[in-house]
Symmetry: C2
Subunit: 420 residues, 2 copies
């Protein structure tokens, strides 16, 4: 059994490596043709996808899956259309592969080019939503890499149908179908073994909750990019424009609740607490957001409950916000650096010095002045797409677009140079 | 014991985190002053270092350490002078921190700066040579990061003295001494626990042999950059300038035997085997290099022994080279991609098409045309220094200088933007 499992994974690995070399030889036009073919096939075979998704949905419903999760799982003709449209948008993006990032000559006559090249084989482990299947394929493929996908078992049949349709479309376009492979064995041991396929896989990206990401970090021997946990803060400075503050906070907290760039914690300068907190409390209450705060917060916002130490470290993804009063920008920065997840944090202030202090001091992928944290997003940054938001410091930080899915190599041209 | 060990490591971690924030506030001048002070102190306290090193040396000698290893361990006034000079050279390099890497405006009026910032806390695990202690400190410090060092136990007293002298010098310059800390507990369990200090350490770099690197990759939960294993190839094409080929091969193989960018394996096009191999064999024999080759190689180089499959995957770091004849550039590329360590590989050819095919096809950090693989080096690339040669694809590939020891963050300035 164990050896059968490894054999299965190694076969996937071998095929991905063969595909990786084939993909490196494709032109931009080849890749765009593959993406268009896959997009057309997904739309053409909507019924096949819906049938598979219907089975997943029934099983999940019978198993007592929550409404919110069922909604994530469910596909409709519109959602399938959106998947196809996503692939077409990726086709329209510039190809990052081949870009000469730097070029320099050495005194000994060596010419050195630093050139952007594909990563090779990328592994992606994700949870419920089946649209990630098409999306992850599209981004990795355009970036010139083969991808091995491991989706959530709840969406196994949906993911299987989507993958199979894309593979058929690639074959039809004269491109190796092994550009995308799905791990179809849903045993948890297989996922753990996948995380150790270092000889085949160059990069592993977990997309999902904190538990999944922790499991990948602890088990993987493949280099990992952590994505998507966001305990994002907004600090309302003593010099904030308070009229503008509430719309920004409401946007960051409530425009979309379950996303990693939503605001989870508010810090408010104590000098403006009396003036600002009652109005803020009222605005949050209208949006049904529960406030968990310190003593000052509870005094000024009647419905607020006490915040524990744990609250300040929690990414709620819910109609809850933690709140704390602080005495200075330094104290805000210190609190944020203790509790944030290195994702996105904002200061609201009209004071340029405070803004700079915050920008320099906060350790996060994205640090904002006078804007909602919700802008941490590949589309909002103009990258045209994203595979996720990196919360680690190695390789890529913040929104990861096509460029962030590539690596580079040095090409060195000489005429007989030897080292003295 | 176990909890005492964790407490010890957590204390180091807490101190490093405090130092990281302090270092981020230093100016370039502050950092250069710290480096100069450390350099001066190392020279001034040469006797103290030599005394500690003498103890390490005696213990190692009594324990039967090989001559080559003893030589690596041994410090002399000249070697201490070179360490100090290394720190002064780092002071003279441009500061990578604060560089605006990109700047773009969004249609909604957000101004986005992508700015180079320090990594934070860097961990370095290394083996015998005590000069790495000063070197690793200098690079991490100039790049704005605190460093926690774990050196080889054989050099424990030498490393302790060097670290202590640098810490005293930093204190004297008004800079936190916790910019550099040494793990002084040489229990192997401590090193393994160190690899899991993810909440404190942002990046872990192993510097040493394949065994050390494997242990770090398998145990670390901190993001790792693998460095320094080099099974480097030279492929002599049918269209090579054979007169120029031998000096390049001898340089790559024998100019310095024990380094990661030395050549370990030669591929020769079968069409030139008859003409080229006898002369090559003679030249290698003069340098006392043993040849392990395939049948054709053994027929044309009388002293050659048979190469096993394992030979082609071996980084000898010795006067041995594996050798194989191939029928085409493709076959050479395929062989290299199967056996190389993604470090450095070269083609010798006058045929531009073959050169391009090789440059594009070989999966390595550095791919050469008509030059020795020995140039894969931070100094030779003009980076002014290096912490190692990365053989992985994430973050940095090839020689890692100061820039490669940094990360970036996005600073986003708005005036009330919210997401629609």
């Amino acid at each position: 059994m164990e050896s059968g499992m490894m054999e299965y994974l190694e076969q996937l690995g071998e095929k991905a490596v063969a595909a990786k070399y084939a993909l490196q030889r494709l032109t931009t036009e080849d890749k765009n043709r593959g993406l268009e073919a896959a997009a057309a096939a997904l739309v053409r075979q909507t019924e096949r996808i819906l049938a598979a998704n219907g089975q997943d949905y029934q099983t999940a419903q019978a198993g007592g899956m929550s409404e919110a999760m069922l909604d994530r799982l469910k596909l409709t003709p519109e959602r399938i259309g959106a998947m196809a449209e996503g692939l077409r948008q990726i086709a329209a993006l510039p190809d990052p592969v081949g870009e000469v990032m730097e070029r320099f000559d050495r005194p000994n006559g060596l010419h050195i080019d630093k050139v952007r090249v594909p990563m090779g084989v990328i592994g992606i482990i994700y949870e419920a939503r089946p649209n990630v299947t098409a999306d992850a394929f599209g981004l990795c493929f355009k970036a010139g890499s083969a991808v091995i996908l491991k989706g959530g078992s709840d969406a196994a049949r949906s993911n299987g149908a989507i993958t199979q349709i894309i593979r058929e479309a690639l074959s039809g376009a004269g491109i190796t179908p092994d550009a995308v492979q799905l791990i179809e064995d849903n045993d948890r041991a297989v996922t753990t073994a996948f995380m150790k396929l270092k000889q085949y896989v160059d990069l592993l990206i977990p997309r999902g909750g904190a538990g999944l990401i922790r499991a990948v970090v602890e088990n993987s021997t493949i280099p990992v990019i952590e994505t998507g946990t966001g305990n994002c803060h907004i600090y309302v400075d003593e010099d904030a424009d308070l009229d503008r503050a509430i719309p920004i906070i409401l946007n960051a907290k409530t425009q979309r609740i379950g996303v990693c760039n939503a605001c989870e914690s508010l810090l408010v300068h104590e000098k403006i607490a009396e003036r600002f907190l009652p109005a803020l409390g009222e605005a949050l209450q209208k949006k049904h957001v529960q406030v968990r705060g310190d003593e000052t917060v509870r005094r000024l916002i009647p419905d607020a409950v006490a915040a524990s130490e744990e609250d300040y470290g929690t990414e709620y993804l819910d109609y809850i916000v933690s709140m704390k009063t602080v005495g200075s920008v330094e104290e805000a920065v210190e609190h944020i650096n203790r509790y944030n997840t290195r994702h996105s944090d904002a200061i609201l202030t009209e004071n340029k010095e405070h803004a700079e202090q915050f920008l320099q001091g906060v350790d996060a992928a994205c640090v904002y002045v006078n804007a909602s944290t919700r802008f941490t997003d590949g589309f909002e940054f103009g990258f045209g797409a994203e595979i996720g938001i990196s919360t680690q410091k190695l390789h890529a930080r913040g929104p990861m677009g096509l460029r962030e899915l590539t690596t580079y190599k040095y090409l060195i041209r000489g005429d007989g140079q030897i080292r003295a």
